[in-house]
């Protein structure tokens, strides 16, 4: 094999500069600014700021409402990630088995992917609407009083189900192509060794899907933490009240609505650290168990 090499160190650096500049301007600089302003209390208009040290952080630790948002985010992220992956995997495995009309099934399942996220969120909200929602009415007929926006867990259920629903198509597409990448010979060999479909799935298919699954796990955790902002916002209608909130939504509520720049910055830094830890843990411990072929 022929190796390409640069004769001089200066040229590769020059080629890297645009990329590095983008990262610096759009990531490091704002992140640094967030860390800096998390130690200050600032007048919204920027006329004055007071250095308060770690006050903004200790406030968060002692705020029961922040802690309850943190717990909710944990529950929310675990449920959304788990169900979005599990349901998509189930659908992908089933769709993969279909022989007649396979294309139609797949198209129908992928279709939702084309729906814009805010539209998906809005459809969810309409289904769960307090007085007119179809799901609300259906539950009402079964004798269950479902009150979005009033009952904490009812609102949480809506947020979680809409978020799962919106993410399933993406996962489905990845899982399906992952499944189809498994060589036919391997499947046939497995078929001879073990007639039990379940065993074959867990012993052969699942490990071979692991790289896709791992990638999707990270994508889904990030999705639940950050991209569900729009869904949370549509469901609480911008006025969270006593409804559950995710940590990212809280940053917006305190920073953008409340003009509390210092407090909001501290919250973003906390989130940044959380994501950092999560990523390190995933790549350090989880990735070791995965074999890429």
């Amino acid at each position: 094999m022929k190796r390409a090499a640069f004769g001089h160190i200066g040229f590769p650096i020059l080629l890297l500069i645009p990329q590095l500049a983008i990262i610096a301007i759009f990531f490091y600089w704002p992140a640094g600014y967030a860390i800096q302003s998390s130690f200050y209390l600032e007048d919204p208009f920027g006329f004055g700021s007071t250095f308060v040290g770690v006050d903004n952080y200790t406030r968060l630790a002692s705020s029961s409402s922040y802690m309850s948002s943190a717990w909710f985010t944990l529950i929310f992220t675990s449920l959304v990630t788990f169900f979005a992956l599990a349901i998509a995997l189930l659908l992908a495995v089933k769709a993969d088995k279909v022989i007649r009309g396979a294309k139609t099934y797949r198209t129908l399942l992928m279709w939702v992917y084309a729906v814009a996220p805010p539209v998906a969120g809005l459809i969810g909200v309409m289904l769960f609407d307090q007085s007119r929602g179809n799901i609300t009415q259906l539950l009402g007929m079964m004798g269950i009083e479902y009150r979005l926006g009033v009952n904490y867990w009812d609102t949480a259920t809506a947020m979680i189900s809409v978020s799962i629903w919106k993410q399933i198509p993406v996962n489905f597409i990845f899982f399906l192509s992952g499944l189809q990448a498994i060589p036919r010979s391997v499947r046939e060999a497995a078929m001879i060794d073990n007639p039990s479909g379940t065993r074959r799935f867990w012993d052969i298919t699942f490990p071979l899907l692991a790289p896709t699954g791992f990638f999707l796990l990270i994508i889904n955790i990030t999705y639940s933490l950050f991209d569900t902002f729009g869904i949370v916002d549509t469901i609480v209608k911008g006025e969270p009240g006593n409804n559950p909130m995710t940590l990212v939504y809280r940053v917006f509520v305190d920073g953008f609505r409340g003009q509390d720049l210092g407090g909001s910055s501290a919250q973003s830094v906390v989130l940044m650290i959380l994501v950092l830890i999560l990523t390190v843990v995933q790549f350090r411990f989880l990735e070791r168990r995965i074999h890429y072929t």
Partner: protein
């Protein structure tokens, strides 16, 4: 097109623009979407057509919060609009930031437009003014909470709209329940059942004259009268006299429009929308009060939003802003805004003109907000001024929601609100230091 042509064309364009620049252009950022936005555009067009010196361009910036945030970000970047619309809860932030805006009173006087605070309806005068009564923001879309009622429902139940909460609990509500209605719902607990509750009963809402005379303010929300009120609400909820549909504004308004709820407390500005949508006869009256708290109920103050003239512009542009404010205050513009939208007119002259045109003969409910703003004033009725108030409202909304869903007691909730609000207020005081 080659380079030479391009340069030539842009030069020509530049010259043409120069020739047309005899007019001063100013920008107005607002939060009025939909139908309201169209009326805003109409006002701007009317102003532009009324004279040849100035051109105003209204720009819709999203919700109140988004508009304020955009304006602050723009100000910090030196790209602020000439005029920005700021809502009631954000007023302390803008007024606290001295130098960010030019007090409207000063702007008008400096530009020879003339200004007399006595021209304004009494409940309008002070909310956007400083401690000395100098008007900082020009009240624009002003509203106050009033009580709408389904006249057909009340007739069916054989009752009149209640004047006091005692009357509501003893007479009105049982009769309405009997007639098959949910008697009461309301939108926005912090606005109606807190801020205006204190004003209606002339109770102090915060130290420093409700926050007007200093930033080291403490909230006085943990008052027996309001605790009793929320205790009553929970009892009414249990008895089926009152229903709470969550923090969402429309979630509480919809059941009234659907005819399930007989009386709804909402904004005087909602009048137009209700008139368009409901099938039944409706009317409105002033907010009830507790006779046990006061026998002399006082006025409420305006909510909604005001227009602030941002600083950092030359005299010419400031003159344009002053001219626009002058136009906005004119009887014609006010009457048009009032009759199109249902927001209250801010001057007594405009009120008189609307009355003269027979607007209130046609829509009696449209007058209620103004009448309520003109009731007797008290020392605690001019409004409030508290920093980080949007967050304080969020705390209230959270705790009130917890009371009404049975997750906390009235006493605990008010202790929490008091503690968290005071914490936020002292943080705000620090930012102003």
């Amino acid at each position: 097109m080659n380079l030479k042509n391009t340069v030539g064309a842009s030069l020509a364009l530049g010259l043409m623009a120069g020739a047309a620049q005899a007019q001063t252009e100013i920008e107005w950022w607002h939060a009025m979407g939909g139908q309201l936005g169209e009326t805003v555009n109409q006002i701007a067009e009317n102003f532009n057509a009324s004279q040849g010196d100035y051109v105003i361009t209204p720009v819709f910036k999203g919700t109140y919060e988004e508009t304020l945030t955009s304006a602050i970000a723009a100000f910090r970047a030196g790209e602020q609009p000439n005029i920005v619309q700021v809502f009631d809860a954000g007023a302390a932030t803008v007024i606290g930031a001295q130098g960010a805006t030019i007090p409207v009173e000063q702007l008008l006087n400096d530009n020879g437009v003339g200004f007399d605070i006595e021209d304004y309806i009494s409940g309008v005068r002070n909310f956007y003014a400083d401690a000395d009564g100098q008007m900082i923001g020009m009240p624009f879309n002003s509203s106050t909470p009033i009580m709408y009622y389904n006249a057909d429902a009340l007739e069916a139940a054989g009752v009149e709209a209640p004047a006091t909460w005692e009357e509501f609990a003893e007479t009105t509500a049982p009769a309405l329940v009997e007639a098959g209605y949910i008697p009461l719902a309301q939108s926005h607990l912090p606005w109606i059942f807190t801020e205006n509750f204190f004003s209606r009963h002339n109770l102090p809402f915060a130290t420093n004259d409700n926050g007007y005379t200093g930033v080291d303010t403490e909230i006085l929300v943990n008052h027996p009268a309001i605790r009793d009120h929320f205790t009553a609400l929970t009892e009414w909820q249990d008895a089926g006299y009152f229903e709470w549909y969550g923090t969402g504004w429309a979630d509480n308004q919809d059941p009234f429009e659907a005819g399930e709820v007989a009386m709804w407390l909402g904004s005087s500005g909602s009048f137009g929308g209700i008139a368009d949508r409901v099938e039944f006869n409706f009317s409105a009256t002033v907010l009830p009060y507790w006779e046990a708290v006061t026998t002399e109920p006082t006025q409420t103050f305006i909510g909604g939003a005001a227009l602030f003239a941002m600083s950092g512009f030359d005299a010419e542009e400031n003159a344009a802003t002053a001219a626009f404010f002058d136009y906005l205050d004119s009887v014609d513009a006010q009457v048009m805004w009032h009759t199109e939208t249902g927001y209250v007119p801010i001057t007594t002259a405009a009120y008189a003109a609307a009355a003269e045109q027979g607007h209130y003969d046609e829509f009696p409910a449209a007058e209620v907000g103004i009448q309520q703003l003109m009731l007797d004033a008290g020392e605690n009725t001019r409004g409030y001024r508290m920093g980080f108030y949007v967050q304080i409202r969020d705390v209230m909304n959270r705790e009130y929601g917890r009371i009404l869903t049975g997750e906390t007691t009235v006493e605990d909730a008010f202790n929490t609100i008091e503690a968290e609000a005071n914490d936020l207020l002292s943080r705000f005081a620090q930012t102003q230091g």
